[in-house]
Symmetry: D4
Subunit: 219 residues, 8 copies
């Protein structure tokens, strides 16, 4: 039982296949990593790679990885060359959502997209957002990461004309637990033209931003 | 089978019993109205009284009612004397929520509480809210009526130090349908100290504001 | 009680305010329309305007509207000038979703974005999609409209490198009723980088595509 | 990546910013605590600070905290001066909800509001509530903390004319698990004018009571 | 396609088969009624028989029915002989729930069980319940019918040692809509030993009471 | 905007494309019907064709249809030749589910599969099922149609060794409303090897049975 | 902060107060136990007392308890005298539900009610139930404990004329996880007159049976 | 308290009883295993047997088991003789679902059905599926195991005329967590005639395939 990696996907649809590690057996993961170390000629991204999983793999192999324990991502063979133009602002409501925020940032860096994180600019401290909105608008795409009521997405959506990708997070308690309240708030936003990803899907938001910028600048 | 009205409730707990009409049989409603016309010595409020229901009652009786077809409320024997001090700002995201907004307003007027409606100040047109926030803050209590993502409640909550009562509304489609998204967004608000009522419960929000102001100014 | 229209929004954030009609009282809608006929100097879009509502308005005013009864949209003062570059492919799984599909199309046309509808290319008749995918990929942005299992979104996402905006629809029965199954399927898609809107939100998908193309070609 | 604390919030909206610790990385929390020890001139409240998190911080810093392990709250620089007038009754259905009850109580004490806890007065032992209702009514605001069926909130709401803030709790099993049954029961209460917070949100209830009393006595 | 009626069920399990009419085609219902008029030698109960359905049946047949338009029940061949001992108190929170209350009452009468309805004794007007509780306790079984927060069930459960059967109702709005909040509140009741039926199932509650009393007095 | 019919699907995957009519515009449906009358050389099935829709179509065209108003199905060009071997038992809990039951039956007949309906054999009248189980087991596949608690599916599943396809129905009230309770009961059945379709999906169950029998007897 | 025990409840409503331990702090529990050892003159029942909690209490006190680790119940001062007449059959679908089954059994024994457990008589092995149904029917009340599809409750309900109390359990996976599928199946049962408790509430079912039998035999 | 095993079930309904171990007490499990070692003359399958449970049983007994730690299944007395004809293709979207995939495979092997696993053929790497579809179609029945959006089931359903049994899995995050999104996507599939099992129910899918093949080849 082994994984069949799609080595040529980036040639077909622009985005390389990455390795989603959650729920994968350590043996299978180790075999795949060994194969990739041998065969992959381009950078490979691992997502949702828990420290606990990492510790079960062959150290000789994991030593080749650039691992980040907050975003649970790892690079093999570094990252893709940076796109000359285009950049992404990642706006986050608080440091509780840092894992998701950095998953988006690390995925963008892997894909060669410049990006800047604006953390802790939640609606309750509105002045923090107002101080930064002009700088945020110098980027081509805005990713908003927020949990709880996710009001930040609506507010940012009303202050920028850039494409806005909203990522709900699962941090919270009571009705906010699991992220459904944030997700629904973003989907129902009164700000026109928000685009939403799955809860905690910083990776997907980065891929979406990549699709937008690659067509704009590399097409 | 008849309704036993609680004529003395306003003596016991300050708030008079009102008549919730939804789902009540027309015959029972007519009997109750006839009894109240004869026996009630104080103003009586009817809520959720649909035009269709009203048309099935005895015109000689309904002629005595002050009925409003948008809020679906009616007064019998006018309203209570106005409290000398204290007032409520009712802030609404749009005219789609007008029925709920006016249910709150008409209930406050019935209870003798001055109130002003600030409609159509949604987050997407943020300048409309900013232009009015100073005036809104001259009131003692703020009721926020909002559907969809209900981001207005969080934003207002961050711009006022007044007690804020948030009323989610059921207007909307997709995930916003029925008002659960707005309710959860308000409950999970990152603005501290919001208090929330049931979906579309303009009446309850007015009663809550009455409890606050009556204790403050009439206690 | 009247609506305060945001005449200058398109100067501030690029997207003009449009009039969402669902749940709006006919009198309020009529007053707003009369005001817009007098004051609006740019094209105005009405969405979710039911035939039944339209019939309650002043015919002298509604005669000025370009109304489409399938998408429930109307234009006042025509549409914005067409952007010279950039176009959108709207891919739909079936004619049951036609209202949502055309809401997206009519909104794009209003905003001056060229667009083509590819209807009835569902997964069950896979050959219909394969025959058109090359042409679909000549557009800059792809909007996928689908209900039921929404598998079309994942399949299209795997066959294009364009930004993909997925719109779940509420058509369906049993677990598909209301569109939540389609929404969740799109959010959980194994195709990387899909962006999702609220259920039946063709308008929002068009605004999102506008944000992408306006930044690309008009920025 | 660091937290930007809002040192001036209590000047702007009356309520100081507090530090919500759930899900925050220990390093970030430690940095913030170190900064606050140096820069904060007013009392600071930490909420949802688990013992496990506390044990990961610098003992030299945590030694400055007044920590309570049941409510998971901590004070830095003590509490605000007590408001001369006004007090809050916190009524709880049982000792299973003690954590939430004390979070409300400790937050009120921090904000300078006198408060008394009336624990274990559930509906099943109705005489316990009846014996205390007169004393409860000597307070200005009543907070009701209850899980399971939350019937206590409705019963108390019918026995007092004070503003009532209802806090559902997540304690329970089966349909009561997570607190949604209690939340919905409070929102749907037949007692008029209840105001509800998120599940387990003792902190929010205290902030709401503070908004009410501050406007009444300190305005 | 015809219905096969279970003429002998009351011999086998004590309870006769009744005819649940909701969703049944008028032709099939008419055929069944015609057959029962000819063949049934014992009383037969029809439940959820809407006036609209009734009007589509053969008047010569429906003329033989004792129909009640509030409870939507009909008797054919009258009712069973009254059990000599045992009676049921049906306690209801308000007249909005009258249909369900009377479905329980009419079913009990059909089964030969004496019963008394105590309507409009909701928790908000607690004195109305306290005035009647002694009389209620003279019955052998208590059925509580309540919607919204269903707090009445918990309160009654704490004031009687009789078997208590709780029937949630679907009347209500917002989170109370459809009756799930009432159902969960009853299931999670802090009063020990409540037994609950499906939402709006007055018929089932009556059958449950019949099982209890039949075993007690007729066994 | 027109429908592109898949005339050759039955050559590709064995099952012809059928026309799902729910939510389809009458003009589009009429155009499709006109095209099929001209071009289709094989039998065509229409499902979920409401009487109201039918009445909006060209009578000259609808006159060619074999329409059944209970199952909402119609045949154009008759049905496929009957498969020589193999038959299906359709077991239904009651006549309330007749529409779904007959949708399964009419679809099987259209596909050329012999089938027999065993209606009104619910668990409450267990003897009715026991009397027929032997005959039911003479068929090759068993389809069980049931709403409410759907216990019939589990019971039948324990009494036959045939493939069992379970179809939950939406008939019911309270927790049974919409069919989710029946669906989940079938999915969680303690009888091993049940296969389940979407709620009310008689058509899908028939197609599934066709897949089984076609491979067995026509492969 | 201490618990106020209701020593006289069994005099008031027949059922003594028991101690629900889930979520209770060990210190509070220990204080209460110490108090009860000194003051309680009647048997006291502890429910949901986890082994882990027990191990944190004073061994001198816990040594006085009769603890059962499967049902998580403990007796202090033994049990109440056995009622001379009346008994309960507890029918369970499988040994996976044993904890709930024994919670019901141990509570009945505590209350002085004779009871017999019939375990592992699930619907899939129908003969096991048929072999025992006659003996089950010699009892006065039947409690059915079942998870998954809970079809056992419907089947037993159709084979007995005794009062049937149905207890859904949370054992299961997928849609059965948490017990909602079993709960809804029982509430929607086609067997008339089932009475249902909260998920896993063996204690409540026993109290309900006690209410029935106490009124029948001790009234 | 012991388990009563149904030794003769395979004689009655073709499928032997297997032992579902989740939630079963170790003592009870050990007793049952000891009994089966002595009395069972045919192969017995254990499912959901966690390693942790296994380690608590008597090694002398567990040494007789053929245990697989990924699928959590064990064989006692080997497997049933292989059916001469008929085979099953198990198609899986990824290695994250391997546990469920192998539960299906191991159960089929136990029942004597030949089967082949086609893993990692997800929709995002569509070419992997296209390369294998011809070989997949050489089998008599197709089982599709998929989580997330479960689009694989719809796509496979449109490429084969074989009976398709779809097994949703619980792997995933956000809206995909727990498997409901995959389940609903499969139930709502636009591919006709899919049959669905409970989430993660590889065992059930194998039993369903066995019912189909046994009737086809062993009937």
């Amino acid at each position: 039982m082994s994984v069949i990696f799609d080595y040529l996907r980036h040639h077909r649809i622009g985005l390389p296949e990455s390795v989603y590690c959650e729920g994968k057996d350590a043996n299978i993961l180790n075999d795949l990593l060994a194969e990739l170390v041998q065969k992959a000629s381009h950078p490979v991204l691992f997502t949702r790679l828990a420290s606990r999983q990492l510790s079960l793999l062959d150290p000789a192999l994991t030593g080749l990885l650039d691992y980040d324990e907050i975003s649970l991502t790892a690079y093999l063979n570094g990252v893709f060359p940076q796109l000359e133009k285009g950049s992404v602002a990642i706006v986050a409501a608080g440091t509780s959502d840092l894992g998701v925020t950095l998953e988006a940032g690390r995925t963008l860096s892997y894909l060669g997209i410049r990006n800047t994180v604006y953390a802790d600019v939640g609606v309750a401290g509105f002045w923090r957002l107002q101080e930064r909105i002009e700088e945020i608008n110098t980027h081509n795409v805005v990713i908003v990461v927020a949990g709880m009521d996710a009001a930040l997405a609506s507010v940012v959506g009303g202050m920028t004309d850039r494409p806005v990708i909203a990522v709900p997070t699962s941090i919270g308690y009571g009705v906010a637990k699991g992220g459904t309240a944030a997700l629904n708030s973003m989907l129902a936003s009164c700000a026109s033209g928000l685009m939403v990803t799955n809860i905690d899907n910083g990776y997907g938001a980065a891929c979406a931003a990549f699709r937008i910028l690659r067509n704009q600048y590399a097409g």
